[in-house]
Symmetry: C2
Subunit: 344 residues, 2 copies
């Protein structure tokens, strides 16, 4: 039995383990600073498809298949897939995995979907309802621009605060705790409330999401009675350069200093100067692949022991924006500990 902790948090009884991950990315991500950590860099953003939506579905399918293969398993060994993406009605995920014939739970928390998937999927596994699942999220730059902003063919100029949606898929195989195995494990989660600070600018998502990240992180510290120094790394995403600065300020105002042991996936994934990515990376895949490719291996090796992972999401759509609505945001926090155990 898991348990509810404080106001918005849960603790797993036997922490579910992340036994394998897959990161499949587009060419731009494959030219960035994390290039050598990704499993598969696709040469063409079209991914053998006629449409951007179908290209994203291709990523979603490849991600799940590769994660399962890297775990040394077959699809039949996966009892459920928890997945989501940014496209209307989640078609990146549904069309991607429809041929895989696995029971499917569709999730939506925008760019924080991987956090929701780890929280709910982890609870499902820890609660005894499944031995082994896959959680997966995808995004595609061209499909996202078309969905939320402008078709690329218009050639609009990008504002300095705009982010660059990551083209990629991150898929994790999560299974019931096995004490004989050394894999990073999900030990606790803090689910986010919807926080809306009145931002309306679709090209400044970092500013919209930072208050949601601050709200969840502060609630997490309170629920678990921890402080920033209790974590080797606090990894947000995808706030980007401006949102991350704002988050640090919001937390400092409440007495929490994360400057020495934190970063944001939107900052890590691209080289701002070389790649012309302005505020940084975004999209559900941004935080999912940065965690999987860069940070989980450090946890696996024991180089870091305990991470607070806080993916962030903006919950508007193109219609709500056109109607003058503000942008509601959410952040889900997940605590991941190294599989390398020390005596406490």
């Amino acid at each position: 039995m898991g348990k509810h902790v404080g106001e918005q948090s849960i603790k797993y009884d036997k922490p579910p383990q992340i036994i394998a991950t897959a990161t499949v990315v587009g060419p731009k991500e494959g030219e960035g600073p994390l290039a050598r950590y990704f499993d598969k860099i696709l040469p063409d953003v079209k991914i053998d498809s006629d449409t951007w939506e179908s290209a994203e579905s291709g990523l979603a399918k490849q991600g799940v298949e590769l994660a399962v293969a890297k775990a040394g398993l077959n699809l039949a060994d996966i009892q459920y897939i928890f997945a989501g993406d940014l496209l209307n009605q989640g078609i990146g995920s549904t069309y991607g995995i429809r041929s895989l014939e696995r029971p499917y739970f569709g999730l939506f928390a925008a760019c924080s979907t991987i956090g929701e998937a780890m929280t709910l999927g982890g609870a499902f596994v820890d609660g005894g309802f499944a031995e082994r699942i896959v959680v997966a999220v995808s995004s595609h730059f061209c499909a996202a621009e078309k969905t939320f902003r402008f078709p690329l063919g218009m050639g609009n100029q990008r504002t300095p605060t705009s982010s660059w949606t990551v083209t990629g898929d991150g898929a994790y195989v999560i299974q019931q705790h096995d004490a004989s195995k050394q894999s990073p494990a999900i030990v606790g989660s803090t689910a986010g409330k919807i926080v809306d600070f009145g931002i309306k600018d679709l090209t400044n998502m970092g500013a919209a999401m930072a208050p949601a990240a601050a709200d969840t992180i502060i609630r997490h510290f309170e629920d678990f009675n921890t402080r920033p120094s209790d974590y080797d790394m606090i990894i947000t995403g995808d706030l980007g350069h401006y949102g991350y600065e704002l988050l640090k300020k919001l937390l400092a105002d409440k007495g929490f200093d994360i400057t020495g042991n934190s970063t944001d996936c939107g900052i890590e994934i691209f080289d701002k100067e070389q790649q012309d990515t302005h505020a940084g990376g975004s999209g559900p895949a941004c935080s999912a692949i940065t965690l999987a490719a860069y940070f989980l291996p450090k946890l696996q090796r024991g180089e870091i022991k305990r991470v607070l992972f806080v993916p962030t999401g903006a919950l508007m759509n193109a219609t709500s924006a056109a109607q003058g609505e503000t942008i509601p945001c959410i952040a889900h926090a997940v605590v991941i500990e190294s599989g390398v155990r020390e005596k406490h």
Copy 2:
């Protein structure tokens, strides 16, 4: 601890109980055959809003608030909200509940979302991660037509197989099993796989969804080693008149006869002849409010003892349809038992 059963199913350890529900509906639903069972019939489909999307958010907010009030609780007693709807990026739910300040898990399984919500929410509660949650889904006829088909202002003629999206919200308060209480309880679930039979007609969703319903129902019987006669009622939704006939035929072909003890929420909710609703009702709210308003009270009173509830969903979007894609569908099955216990 819950457990995994067969291929796609789960069984709850201490079945989570549905202690209260709310059904808030629009005027057309309030003129239908189930009118007297609904909690709240709103006089105007605009629901004091400037936009259809905002009207749906209003429904979503009212549904959650009323369910909590009917349970004799405050919002602070609800630890998590699991919710979803049909609009792009789930804005019906997110804008509806953003002011409620409760941790939020966004779900998407189209018109089967209530089944996903009961399955995952039930597992979360039974697994010990929450004492009490709300699961909720909404839909709005005008917002759905605009999202998936044509703006109402065009005055398009409706085809005979088209369904009428229900304007409403269904919200359930689900809490950990308390043997001293007599409330209907969720005892098991079978999660659906995505099934795509190649249907492309956005005005014939029943035909697209029937094969998914058949797939999940047959899997359910196999996983639990049951037969149709083991259930007092098998309640699908929202297949409508044509989809329900097709489902019965698909099941009969596999040796399962559900003709004597089944119905479909899309058939129950409107009067086909009097209300000009063609194939019947649809939308996430259709099955959620029909179950809550009409069938759960029968379970509560012990008039029926065991129900197999199978909401169905179509997972396309307007873009995939325009691109010539077929419609992938899903159905999630949930077993609900009466709170009135007999000696077995």
